[in-house]
């Protein structure tokens, strides 16, 4: 994975690291350090993305399906923005041992930006999210949220595509 793709993958995946901490797979300190690195655009050492076994496997799957040699931003966004909700629902049907609501990514509109946080309106209503990963967020922006983080800003065109796709689900 290229550096910029690793960073994008981590921005999408890190918000759900709480599950890995609860399982004892990684420590809170390790995750906090990763969040700090990614927030400051400093590439983490090692293969931090490998701890997200499922997301990594899913992205590898879509990369193969899209005939790509490795995971890139197109694959990452396809997984987390287009396929993720369906996949979460399928898994919840089978496993029923996790929270399928917070686990999903949501498209939101930025209502207010505060110091380190922003209020966004999503399908879940108005909520406050951490803005560690997105420094230039402004009122009216379209952005993706995952757990309690804003992951990235997205264009109006991608926001429309996401809405249409989710309306079908």
């Amino acid at each position: 994975m290229k550096i910029e793709d690793r960073m994008l993958f981590l921005r999408y995946a890190l918000p759900c690291a709480g599950t890995l901490i609860r399982r004892g797979n990684v420590t809170q300190q390790y995750v906090d350090n990763l969040i700090k690195s990614v927030s400051n655009d400093i590439e983490p050492e090692g293969s931090a993305e490998k701890m997200f076994i499922v997301a990594n496997a899913m992205c590898n799957h879509f990369a193969r399906e899209m005939k790509k040699r490795s995971i890139d931003s197109e694959v990452i966004r396809r997984y987390f923005l287009i396929e993720h909700s369906r996949v979460v629902d399928e898994r919840y049907e089978l496993m029923k041992d996790f929270d399928p609501v917070d686990c999903k990514t949501y498209l939101g509109k930025v209502l207010k930006v505060n110091n380190g946080h922003a209020t966004l309106e999503t399908r879940l209503g108005k909520r406050s999210y951490r803005t560690d990963f997105v420094k230039d967020l402004r009122e009216g922006d379209n952005a993706v949220v995952h757990w309690d983080f804003v992951v990235e800003k997205i264009s109006e065109a991608l926001a429309k595509k996401m809405k249409m796709n989710r309306a079908k689900q």
Binding site: C16, M58, E65, M95, D97, F98
Partner: protein, 63 residues
């Protein structure tokens, strides 16, 4: 997404495999993966997504 079902491969045919998932047989489509009997495979719906090693299977609560 940190959770996914994992099965142990018990049968392999061209383009499909059968895994043991919680003691039940589950048939999966598998176009891209090179698998052997006994491998652990992560799946979604009816599709085998990726092979996971023993340590990864343990981290995901399979072993």
């Amino acid at each position: 997404m940190c959770q996914a079902p994992i099965g142990k491969v018990i049968e392999i045919e061209k383009g499909r495999i059968v895994v043991d998932y919680k003691g039940k047989r589950k048939e999966l489509e598998s176009k891209f993966l090179a698998l052997s009997k006994g491998d652990y495979v992560l799946f979604s719906g009816n599709i085998a997504i990726d092979k996971v090693d023993g340590e990864e299977a343990k981290m995901l609560g399979m072993k």
